[in-house]
């Protein structure tokens, strides 16, 4: 009776992307936030080239992370409001897979613009061109990881009203290793050292998270919406 699984996945993805596209202004908000933060830092620290170069990689990573945190809160918000998330829980399709699609859509709409703009931000801080591939690769691996980890926490707070600060508090312990390895890769590339190992660790963590996080997200959502 139910449509084939891939149709359901595609429909889910298309729906979320369409909804995001109709509210393009919201999509631009994290990008604008990241630009503002990166512009403010040189004013606070002074235009010292060597200093900016040294902190560029870490600064861009942390800025992207915070910008993602800004958007994370709204991952399931509208779906909880209009009740479509409860429909999804009751749907015959596996909830974890559907949530995985939602997370993918959220990553495309919030993290991908940030990755696109990241070279510009890094350039403003004079990150050496040699470290740019490492930065992009680290971001490409770290941002989906953060989306997946964040989705579990967003699902846990689905039954509560205000969750902005709480989400940040809960995400901090989880994102410490991600930041360490992503920034480690960039720092190693900047010093001309091999940076494959931290990127490989990030990739391994991402593969684990792609499998486990949607399942955990589904379990968390069932707990949080169960009443």
């Amino acid at each position: 009776m139910s449509a084939p699984l891939e149709h359901a996945c595609a429909a889910m993805l298309r729906r979320d992307l369409t909804l995001a596209w109709r509210r393009r202004g919201d999509m631009a908000l994290p990008v604008l936030y990241a630009v503002i933060v990166v512009v403010l830092f040189p004013f606070a620290l002074g235009p010292d080239l060597a200093l900016l170069q040294r902190i560029a990689g870490g600064l861009v990573l942390v800025t992207v992370l915070l910008a993602m945190l800004l958007a994370l809160d709204g991952m399931f918000a509208s779906d909880i409001e209009d009740g479509s998330l409860e429909q999804l829980v009751l749907a015959p399709q596996p909830l974890a897979l559907m949530l995985g699609m939602k997370i993918l859509a959220h990553w495309i709409t919030t993290a991908l613009p940030l990755i696109v703009i990241a070279p510009l931000l890094a350039g403003m801080l004079h990150l050496p061109a040699a470290a740019m591939p490492a930065l992009l690769l680290a971001l490409l691996l770290a941002t989906p990881l953060l989306s997946l980890l964040g989705a579990v926490l967003v699902a846990l707070t689905a039954g509560t009203r205000r969750s902005g600060m709480l989400l940040a508090l809960m995400l901090l312990p989880l994102c410490v290793p991600v930041v360490i390895f992503a920034a480690g890769a960039v720092a190693a590339a900047q010093e001309g050292l091999p940076w494959f190992a931290p990127v490989a660790w990030l990739a391994a963590a991402l593969i684990l998270a792609v499998v486990l996080a949607p399942l955990a997200c589904a379990a968390a959502l069932r707990i949080a919406l169960d009443s």
Partner: protein
Amino acid sequence: MAKWIPLWLHKLGSPPTFYRFAGAVRPWAMGLALLFGVIGLYGGLVLAPPDYQQGDAYRIIFIHVPSAWMSMFVYAVMGVSGFIALVWRMKLAEVVAMESAPIGAAFAFITLATGSLWGKPMWGTWWTWDARLTSELVLLFLYLGVIGLYHAFEDRRQGARAASFLAIIGVINVPIVHYSVVWWNTLHQGSTVNIFGHSKMPWDMLWPLLAMTLATKCYYAASLCRRARTDILALESGKDWVREIAQAEAAR
């Protein structure tokens, strides 16, 4: 529930029985905690000789290390009872998990505060980004996240289950954080500090430490009993046996 669980455990799972049981255990646990505490503090502050390197400053170890152990032990208890609460939906496991969190947070805070008070005279700094310190800080944040999530829900049992889930995620997270910070430290050539410079502790320093460890364990048991009793009263406030307690307390 499965048949292999003995009957008394089933009975203990009922709130009034557990309320009485915890009430009976608490004074003993508190008494033992005070006894071990007095012995350990006397041994640690008075009898133990000053350290040949650190002088008398090392005496912070008698509260710092037991608190650090307890902050991890309490987290393990919280994770296990949170798991039981999620799988078997036992009300009592939820109570134990959620009432452990503030105690664990208290121990984690003590560990960080005493650690920085110890670090200042020994390393010349209040804080260093060492793997052990950073993991302890992350542990404190995990505790705060669990407490915050628990209180964010209007329905207490639902909040307890969500927070238990977060606690289980944290159990996986803590070792990852620890090893990633170790890796990070080797990358950045950070200050390599070793609090336990001499791995072999002389006996007259070791036994007060063990006594203090027992004291903090007993204190945790006592505090958990008190907190669980209070929480059960709040959860069961509509029931007759709680009303009787309320009336009896008013008569006194």
